[in-house]
């Protein structure tokens, strides 16, 4: 039966149920936003809910009638399958629903997990509900989407497939901030191309709350107007941009320059730099060098295909494995927390290097690190978010 049809039947039922929510045991820094919204949705129906991470015995004496399991990156499918099997085996009366990013991108693979229902995309009835943050009491930031989707069609990104064009636009987020939270984290994929960005920015300035545009801001959209409003916000930890292709270099340079003119320091601008995709090592080297010369922090991001089942396995035809490993090694040795901050010795190294090999070679003595403690703190926060420090990358 079409799961969407099942929901309508479910709506018509008038009995309180026990719903169990599971986040599989993969690395993530954020609480499972979708599950927290589902928790609110079920509570609104009068159901009892519980949330658990990994495969563990449910504390309640009541058997759940339904178990929702979420998923994240496609390469983290094994803990998802383990969770499905564990709960199917131990709670055979419960209907197991599997959703989330992996389940949406690789639906036919996810079917092999044995879940009763594979859910693709958002759960519309729950999407606009306040997430049940009481289930994650140690978490102190509100996670938000002021818009979904993106106007771009980048081949490395799952957003055009999962969310399409800009949609579900909200013109105010004031009422979506959970009481007691001191920070708002936006997961919008491209907020500056959504029609509501100006209203949202003014509201954030008025609220004076700490803000993180976690998925980055589109450098092509940053002008005086945007930079002026950003400079009046409490950005925490830093402004994130991306320099994924060499042909957007002009816009990235202009964005960094404009942000600096409005008082945002270069060390507070982190530029994600995609590699191992359609670029080659020399193109990547030039982009990192550009970012350092423009005075911002370069954060290399290794491309992973959207259907990969194993992390860090894919090597683009334009790269060699040794070259990809050189980048990873240079991040550990030359960089800080996986990023290349614009400290003078590193700028000099990249400026004098004639090619990728010379820039990323570690044979020469490591440049002396001149990083302020606040810069270290910011880079460390972002590195932890990406799991770089935890995995010792």
């Amino acid at each position: 039966m079409d799961p969407k049809f099942k929901i309508h039947i479910y709506f018509m039922m008038d009995m309180n149920e026990y719903i169990h929510l599971v986040e599989p045991d993969y690395y993530t820094r954020f609480p499972p936003l979708g599950l927290l919204k589902l928790a609110s949705y079920h509570r609104a129906r009068g159901d009892k809910v519980s949330l658990m991470r990994g495969c563990r015995k449910i504390k309640s004496k009541q058997e759940p009638s339904r178990i929702y399991i979420t998923s994240l990156f496609t390469w983290a499918w094994k803990p998802v399958w383990q969770a499905v099997r564990y709960y199917k085996q131990n709670y055979p009366k419960a209907e197991v629903w599997l959703g989330g990013i992996y389940a949406s991108l690789l639906k036919s693979h996810a079917e092999g997990s044995g879940a009763d229902v594979i859910w693709s995309g958002l759960f519309p009835e729950a999407e606009d509900m306040m997430p049940a943050y009481d289930l994650v009491p140690n978490w102190k930031s509100t996670l938000l989407f002021a818009s979904r989707g993106c106007i771009r069609r980048c081949g490395f990104c799952s957003v055009p497939i999962l969310e399409g064009q800009i949609n579900r636009v909200k013109y105010s987020i004031r009422n979506l901030i959970y009481q007691g939270h001191t920070k708002v984290i936006f997961f919008d994929n491209n907020i500056l191309t959504a029609p509501n960005w100006r209203e949202i920015f003014h509201e954030l300035i008025e609220l004076g709350i700490r803000v993180d545009f976690n998925q980055g801001l589109d450098a092509r959209e940053i002008d005086d107007d945007v930079a002026s409003l950003l400079s009046r916000m409490r950005i925490d930890p830093l402004v994130r941009l991306a320099y994924d292709y060499s042909n957007v270099g002009y816009y990235v340079e202009r964005a960094i320059k404009t942000l600096k003119e409005y008082g945002i320091r270069g060390r507070d601008i982190m530029v994600y730099t995609l590699f191992n995709y359609v670029d080659d090592p020399e193109d990547f080297f030039r982009r990192v060098r550009d970012i350092l010369e423009w005075g911002a922090v370069a954060y290399p991001m290794r491309y992973e295909p959207l259907n990969t089942l194993k992390k860090n396995s894919y090597i683009s035809p334009r790269w060699r494995r040794e070259e990809v490993e050189m980048v990873q090694e240079a991040r550990r040795v030359l960089g800080y927390g996986g990023a290349f901050p614009p400290y003078p010795a590193l700028i000099k190294k990249f400026k004098l290097a004639k090619d990728f090999q010379e820039a990323f070679s570690l044979r020469e003595p490591t440049p002396r690190r001149i990083i302020s403690s606040s810069m270290k703190k910011r880079i460390k926060e972002v590195a932890i978010e990406h799991g770089m420090l935890n995995r010792g990358v």
Binding site: H109, R153, P305
Partner: protein, 63 residues
């Protein structure tokens, strides 16, 4: 079904997985894979053991 790839109304000339142009050799076009992230891919990408395609035996599918 006439949408070959998101945002495109004609078959793509490059494999969106690796970014290289299709040819008649090892980058021969394979597909379509509707409901998958890449509708058309090249044979080289298809052959990578860790990349999932529904018509392929994945050896590493045990947990």
């Amino acid at each position: 079904m006439n949408r070959w790839q998101i945002g495109s109304e004609v078959p793509p000339r490059v494999c969106l997985c690796c970014g290289l142009p299709f040819d008649e050799g090892k980058r021969k076009r394979k597909g379509p894979y509707y409901g998958q992230p890449y509708i058309w891919v090249c044979e080289w990408c298809w052959e990578q053991p860790y990349l999932y395609f529904p018509d392929k035996d994945q050896k590493d599918e045990t947990i």
